[in-house]
């Protein structure tokens, strides 16, 4: 190879090298651009996830509000009944007291006349008239009836007040928001409390049968588990078109407690039974259901390391079985 050839080759190599350098620089700057884009996209994604999380929380909260709202109409009716008869009774009591006041005034008058009268003969005359008037008044106001009925009126009204107190206490218990606490819970008593809450929804078309077994205390979040029971009971009631029954069976099985809620309603078609726990899956109209009820039920049961299963045939009712570990999640 001549010198000339060598120089030419060297030049070509140099050219190639500078081309490669240029290309690498270009690639590097492109890479950097991509990295910045990727970083920005990632940040966007993180933001979206955050929004999703918070809207999911809002949805869960609104589902809870929806089930409470469903109860509100029934609760209003249930409160207005006792308020109705208590306020009517109080109005009547005022009339009774007016009648009794008249009697007392008449008696005062008779005493005064007796004291003021000094003539014995005249006293007998006046006294006879005063007593006749008094007796007429006692008959007119029907004092014997008033004295008996006044006690009944008060007893019934106090019963009414106690009923309202109980409804309000249950409602407050239920809407408690600091539900992050786990504690040893009597599941049968919790079911009873939830039945009380849902009673206004249930009583018009369902007969509720309780088959409660003896259960150990279950370590759980009682507020959340009550919400699970409420959702299942309301669903059971919605599945019943005219009249039907809901049977609640509780048992202690090994390390678990099992709660079975069975209704005699329309049942669940085979083709959708695998979807019922999916979020937003609903057969109800938009105004009636959010499609989150059973999804929440399963999330809560999952969080307690429990299981939920469903057994249903179209037209044969449905049966939901929950199993919760007695020792709960910390065991």
């Amino acid at each position: 190879m001549s010198d000339k050839d060598l120089i030419a080759e060297n030049k070509a190599l140099m050219n190639a090298l500078s081309r490669e350098r240029k290309a690498r620089k270009l690639a590097e700057s492109l890479l950097e651009e991509r990295a910045v884009e990727l970083f920005l996209a990632n940040r966007e994604l993180e933001k979206t996830i955050k929004t999703l999380k918070s809207s999911n929380l809002q949805l869960l909260q609104s589902e809870k509000m929806a089930s409470v709202g469903q109860l509100a109409a029934g609760v209003a009716h249930e409160i207005n009944n006792p308020v109705g008869f208590i306020s009517s009774n109080l109005g009547t009591l005022r009339d009774y007291i007016e009648d009794i006041r008249q009697v007392i005034d008449a008696q005062k008058f008779s005493i005064k006349t007796g004291i003021e009268c000094t003539d014995a003969k005249r006293y007998v005359e006046i006294n006879a008239k005063v007593i006749a008037d008094l007796n007429a008044l006692l008959d007119k106001v029907d004092i014997d009836f008033l004295m008996v009925d006044m006690n009944d009126l008060l007893d019934e009204s106090i019963d009414g007040v106690n009923r309202i107190r109980k409804i309000v206490a249950d409602l407050l218990d239920f809407s408690r928001t600091n539900s992050a606490d786990y504690k040893n819970t009597d599941i049968n008593a919790l079911l009873e409390k939830t039945l009380n809450m849902a009673w206004n929804e249930l009583k018009y078309k369902t007969e509720v049968n309780r088959d409660f077994g003896e259960l150990p205390a279950v370590y759980c979040n009682d507020g959340k588990i009550a919400q699970v029971f409420l959702n299942l009971l309301l669903n059971a009631s919605h599945a019943i078109e005219e009249r039907g029954s809901i049977t609640i069976t509780t048992r202690h099985i090994g390390d678990d407690v099992s709660i079975m809620i069975t209704d005699s309603g329309i049942g669940i078609p085979k083709n959708i039974i695998s979807n019922i726990f999916d979020p937003f899956f609903t057969t109800k109209s938009v105004s009636e259901g959010t499609g989150l009820g059973l999804h929440i039920v399963r999330s809560v049961v999952d969080a307690h390391k429990g299981t939920i299963t469903v057994d249903s045939e179209l037209g044969e009712g449905a049966s939901f079985t929950i199993r919760l570990p007695v020792l709960g999640i910390d065991a």
Binding site: A73, A76, H77, E78, I79, N80, N81, P82, V83, G84, F85, I86, S87, S88, N89, G91, T92, D149, D152, L153, E156, D159, G160, K203, Y204
Partner: protein, 155 residues
Amino acid sequence: MSTQQNLLCVDDESGILSSLMRALRHERFNVLTASNSGEALKLLSENEIQVILIDQHMPDIDGLNLIKKIKVQYPFTVAVILSGLVDLEYILAAINRGDVQRFLAKPWNNEELKTVLRQCFHHFDLVHSNRQLSDLVDQQKKQLENLTVLLEGQG
């Protein structure tokens, strides 16, 4: 009106029924009570009842449906609904269809209750005497027609 005026109150809540009986103790009409639709229909078959006061929300039947059922057999009965839930659409429909004369909300005011019920009895009496009078007019018209025919025959 010489016949006895009877009011029938229907409510599944015994506290409501006894408070109504107390509040209406001095009224001119008799107060009968029933706690379900079966008892209500039985009392209606045994007594002449002009006005019924019915709870809207009862376990065995909806108040409005019970009124419809009663009106088939006793079309002139005047019905009042007593309701713990005030649903405007429901009220409007019930009144405009003519099934219900008046609507009272729980809790009610005793004086208003008495006024409403007195007006209902008054309404029943008016309709009743109106019916009797038109019957009388019909009857007399017929008699007059017969007389005219008779007179024309003689003339």
